[in-house]
C-alpha cells in the first residue's frame, strides 16, 4: 500500500486546524481563544499556500485576518479586563502543547518554503494564477468590488459613531 506524502501532509494540517478550532471553542480564557483562532487562520493559510497552490489568497489571509481582524479582537479583549485571576494554573499543560505546535509549524514552513523541495511542492499543485483572479475582479465583479469598498468605508464610519460616547 502506497501512502501519498501529500495525503499525510494534508491530514497533519487538518488535525492542527481542528485542534485549534476546538481550542477556540473550549479554552476558558478569551485571550487563549483569540490566539487559537489566530493559529487556525495561519494553518489555513498554509493549506491554501502549499496544498491548493494559491499564494495570493494565503497572503491575503495572513494580512487581512491575522493582521487586521485579530488585532481588533485582541485590542478589544485587552481593553476590557475580563475576569482576572481565572487563568493562572488551569491551562498550564495546554501552554506547553501550543508551544510545541508552534515549533512544529515553524519547521513545516521552513521545509515547505525553504527551496529544497520546491519542485516537489510545485509538482503536486496547479493553482489558479493571480492574473485570472484580478481579471475576474476588474471585469465581471467590478460592481461588487466597488460596493465592498463602500461597505468597508461605511463600516469604519459606523464603528466610530457607535463606539464614541458623544458625537
Amino acid at each position: 500500500m502506497v501512502i501519498n506524502l501529500w495525503y499525510v501532509f494534508f491530514l497533519f494540517l487538518a488535525v492542527l486546524i481542528l485542534l485549534s478550532a476546538l481550542g477556540v471553542v473550549f479554552l476558558k480564557n478569551p485571550v487563549y481563544s483569540a490566539l487559537s483562532l489566530l493559529a487556525n487562520l495561519c494553518i489555513t493559510a498554509v493549506v491554501y499556500l502549499a496544498l491548493m497552490g494559491s499564494p495570493f489568497i494565503a497572503m491575503l489571509q495572513i494580512i487581512v485576518y491575522a493582521g487586521a481582524i485579530m488585532v481588533f479582537f485582541l485590542f478589544v479583549l485587552m481593553l476590557m479586563n475580563l475576569k482576572k485571576g481565572e487563568y493562572e494554573d488551569r491551562m498550564a499543560p495546554w501552554r506547553f502543547l501550543f508551544g510545541l505546535g508552534a515549533v512544529v509549524l515553524f519547521v513545516i514552513q521552513v521545509v515547505v518554503l525553504g527551496g529544497e523541495w520546491k519542485g516537489w511542492v510545485k509538482g503536486g499543485t496547479h493553482g489558479v494564477s493571480i492574473g485570472e483572479i484580478s481579471h475576474l475582479i476588474f471585469t465581471r465583479y467590478i460592481l461588487v468590488f466597488e460596493l465592498v469598498s463602500v461597505l468597508i468605508f461605511v463600516a469604519a464610519l459606523g464603528a466610530v459613531a457607535l463606539a464614541k460616547k458623544k458625537l
Binding site: 495525503y7 471553542v25 494559491s54 489568497i57 463600516a155
Partner: protein, 101 residues
C-alpha cells in the same frame, strides 16, 4: 489515495460545525464573534477547494469578498460590544435581557 474534494469538504464542514457549536455554547460575546470568524473560515476553505477542483478563479474572488465583509463585520461588532460593555458592565450575553420575553 490523494487529497480530493471530499477531504476538503469534510474539513470545512467540521470547522463550520465547530464554529456553530462555539456560537451556541459560549457566553462571552467576543468569543462568540471569534466563533463566527471560524464559521466564515470554514466556508472559505470550501470555496477554495471548489475553485481548485473546477479550475476557475471565481471561488477565490468570492473568498476575497468574504474576507472584506468579515473585516467590516468585525469593526461593527467590536464597536457594538464596546458600547454594550460600557452600558452593561460586562460582555456576557446574559446581560442582554432587555428584550427577553
Amino acid at each position: 489515495m490523494g487529497v480530493g474534494l471530499f477531504q476538503y469538504t469534510v474539513l470545512s464542514v467540521l470547522v463550520f460545525l465547530l464554529g456553530a457549536l462555539g456560537l451556541m455554547v459560549r457566553k462571552n460575546t467576543i468569543v462568540m464573534f471569534l466563533c463566527l470568524e471560524l464559521m466564515l473560515n470554514g466556508v472559505n476553505i470550501l470555496f477554495m477547494a471548489l475553485s481548485r477542483h473546477m479550475g476557475n478563479a471565481e471561488g477565490q474572488v468570492i473568498v476575497l469578498f468574504v474576507m472584506a465583509v468579515a473585516a467590516a463585520e468585525a469593526a461593527i461588532g467590536m464597536a457594538v460590544i464596546t458600547t454594550f460593555y460600557r452600558n452593561r458592565g460586562g460582555v456576557d450575553v446574559g446581560r442582554a435581557h432587555l428584550m427577553k420575553w
